[in-house]
Symmetry: D2
Subunit: 330 residues, 4 copies
């Protein structure tokens, strides 16, 4: 079986998914839609697919699934429309920045028995998958302490930050999902600390750029998240899971892994400087997992419920900083 795709949104991340879909032997990219015709046209030419309107893709009988890469504020509406249209849906995170809106959207998905996958790409990084597998294989015993370090090479423009929902909903949300992915138990409490250390303009926009979070589950398992909007040495993405029988960790990835030594010491080149090159394999694996789930009629993960759970942790973190206390989550 070949899964026939429509792509909604032909921007930067749309191109990544177009490549993943067309490179997958079990998928075909049938059509692309974008508010900017030129963007859609470029993808259409490169991969030999149609340019269509969103409405046409919604109504198409030759399309089984869509990939939603449009601006964030359109995600929930599009999920509802395409769920009603019976298409399998892969939607870039987040579903919405409002918990209420996400809940309403998920209700529609549920009522229409929709198939929805949310784009937490890091779950599909081969190294992080191997960490999860080591846990599942019992290599480290019971999970006790998860440590996630996640730092961006540089802050996005302040204009973006203003619309982003804040660092916890925009950046830490990936780490909240990763913590849930690894803890093996739902988070019960959130304690967060936040500051503006990188750029005062981010503070003026009402946001933070440097945050630390402790999550704890009911049984006492803990996850620590460290985030910064700045890392001079590249895109810093590390995880470590400490358990009763051992510890497993995934170190940073490097585009080039040589080492040069001289009187100043031993030097290796910096890390990837961009999330798209860092997570190239993750994006391809993510779409492959979506396609495989559709083909097998299997449960899709991460689901809308996973998207909601991460958003609830982000909201709790915001509240924890404001109220200077631990916040319990349902």
């Amino acid at each position: 079986m070949t899964v026939r795709f429509g792509l909604l949104g032909a921007g930067r991340i749309g191109k990544v998914h177009a490549k993943a879909v067309t490179g997958n032997p079990d998928a075909r990219l049938v059509a692309v839609a974008d508010a900017f015709p030129a963007a859609a046209e470029a993808i259409a030419q490169q991969y030999g697919c149609d340019v269509r309107t969103i409405e046409a893709i919604e109504a198409a009988s030759d399309i089984d699934a869509v990939v939603i890469c449009t601006p964030t504020d359109t995600h929930a509406d599009l999920i509802e429309r395409f769920s009603r249209a019976g298409k399998a849906i892969f939607c870039e995170k987040p579903i919405d920045l409002s918990v209420e809106r996400v809940r309403a959207c998920m209700k529609v998905v549920e009522e229409t028995k929709g198939k929805l996958m949310v784009g937490f790409n890091r779950r599909f990084d081969p190294h992080f998958m191997a960490v999860r597998k080591a846990i599942d294989d019992g290599r480290i015993g019971d999970v006790e302490m998860v440590t996630i370090t996640s730092r961006d090479p540089g802050a996005p423009p302040v204009d973006y930050i203003k619309r982003s929902g804040g660092i916890f909903r925009d950046m830490t949300i990936h780490d909240f999902d990763m913590a849930r992915f690894l803890l093996g138990e739902e988070v019960a409490t959130v304690s967060a600390t936040a500051a503006v250390l990188v750029d005062p303009e981010i503070g003026k926009a009402g946001d933070y750029d440097s945050v630390s979070v402790i999550l704890q589950t009911k049984s006492g398992r803990q996850a620590i998240i460290s985030n910064s909007r700045r890392a001079t040495y590249g895109y810093d993405q590390r995880i470590e899971v400490h358990g009763s029988k051992g510890v497993v960790s995934a170190e940073n990835q490097r585009p080039v892994s040589i080492e040069i030594a001289n009187g100043d010491g031993y030097t290796r080149p910096p890390l990837h400087d961009f999330f798209m090159t860092r997570y190239t394999e993750a994006y391809a694996n993510e779409i492959a997992s979506f396609i495989a789930a559709i083909e097998k009629g299997a449960t899709i993960t991460p689901s809308g419920a996973d998207g909601l759970a991460a958003l609830l942790l982000a909201d709790a973190a915001v509240k924890s900083v404001e109220e200077k206390r631990q916040i319990a989550v349902a």
Copy 2:
């Protein structure tokens, strides 16, 4: 000048300091005292020094400095006595488990113009010293986020734990001091989370074995501490300091650094399994620093005030766990 030493306490840590003193060309071990004569006698024979009573050492004109390695509940009293006797004092941490008692003791030290060094040995580890030097040299710009991972190979006996003051005052206290050593600014708030994951008996004794702490300074600098009473792979001691211009880290030390590879992968031996072998060089450097400060009449660091500051952070952490909120420290 040669600094002439009296050693109070000939137990495990007493032996470590006896070796450090006798191995230092600027020092001489003159006498040792211990409640168990055999213990004192063993050190006396090995290093050719006298066995004396504490009183005799207090009154001795041929002793300039003492190293206090007696049980914790005698530390404050001995500091007061030897400060009054005009001896320079190196005291193993902690001064006392009670903030009030520490304050009273420090008042005596102040009034008698005593010279007191508190044994936070990790400040003298060559790798951690190099981390601090990298900060001082401006290699990473302004400090922003400190991460300290500190896990013991195994929990001490529950009897010890009952007398220890609890994990924050017994174990995390080293990390509180290290955080202060690296943050370059006093800590303003403490947020702590704690659980019993290693051994239920520790919980029955009223303590925790797995804790996570976030410290924040007034300007927003953050330190994260992760502690566990169990690490199957050895004595896990890592620090990382992230700054505006870069990051510096000190990885774990290994007694043997070979690697064996076969079909199961690449394997390196475990870490040191004991704090004394891990910190061999730190103990020697610590005493050397004490001796050098005495010789030069220089300020002694870490001081009693450093001991008090770390204890106040430990108390705040206890309170943070109990009250499920961030605690402000003076």
Copy 3:
């Protein structure tokens, strides 16, 4: 400009190149030929190209370049035919196992002003390219000592070994090319040692499985090559270049880079177990370099002369083992 390709040979390595060609935006795969129609058909279907005979590809006006992936004993003939036909040629190594045949073939290429690239894929590995760039950038000063470690996960079938020309011409030849690529000066002498340590059957077939070689240039620069037909831990491919100002090295690549620690130590997974996954990027870069050279009319590297030079070193190594002495090369 788009370079239009014909693929000769649809076996294992043919598939690798088919993927590289079709994934390159400046190239198009027009036709494939193979003695086994089913193999050609599979590639034709996957990438939407024609199946044609070699003769048809030779005569085709819609084909600019060919990739030769047929059995080794057909390489020289095909190079001559396609050079006469005016096609640019990428040929898998070796051109031939006989120096005489290679010389005759290159004469035809020269007379027909042919464009020929020989498939020494390792020159295009991003890590090895970075090593070369570090040298070119003067990071290590003058090259003095090159060390190449190259070990296969397991020996090929003895039947293959019998036809292979022997380990020096089949396996070490890649390292001879890499040494030439890095030494920056032609090799003057070869000293080789060889043994059968892995499998006595290899010895019965008249070949070796474990060899060590020292190359030296006229000015005294040295390269050491260590080869084994067995490495339990995967496909071992390392290079190090020591120079007057420093050293640069490229370590092994791993498909998954996690680390698990417990009481037995710290363990990382084995290396890639197959040259095709190890050199995925190298194969794509290699074809991209070939295409770019055609488009720009630039000199193609590595050339037939490079293929010949490596073969001469292999022949010298064989002679060195037989005569137990250093062999001078022209």
Copy 4:
């Protein structure tokens, strides 16, 4: 039992051994002799031992063993004298630069049933010992290929080089011994290549500064040695042993093991810059092994025969370079 020591030679290496002897609970330093009274006096004062003449030490009834750290050209004579005097002898390498003289000396040792240890300190490095233990424990199966990289931070003065016996007898000799220690089988052939790349003055003195050697045993096991008199990044000392079941390696040691990362990459400090700090533990272990062998009446290793064997390999290497061929050793 306490082994009572006389130290012959109070120079740089003499001080190292004085520290090792006095730091060992089973030994006592009784006397020191040196042609320069001030040098002997300094050691005598630091460790509280006598200054005596060599003759007095030879005749002393309160001395069981001597450590010979005098100039190389006195070694053989002193070994003979002290062997006749019935003292156990630890002698710094080499016994002599002449094979004939070594053979004559060993004859005396044999006739007098002397106990002689030769100072190949690297065998006692804890990391290299662990490599050997891994082999002995069967962790890598049968040894096949040994790789030894040994580079000095800088060349010694040319005056030293003129008296040194040449790089093979002065520097590579340590690696010849290490190869023998690891190969598990005697070396049968030597192939060496040598050049002057570091300093033309070394060439004018008739020596080389950059050499590569292949050793082979009768069964075909191979060892590769790479030496340079220059390494900008410190004292480079690595070994790797490849076997039928796996590989074991010992990487370089660093005095400080931090890492600093910024936009230029990840940088670790250089290696040790001096053999004495690199091999501090080895020197202490070496003397401890000598003492233990005396106490137990056990066989002493490495013996005079080991010293001779390494020298024969050095002579063969010289001949191999001169005659441009493989040299067979008895």
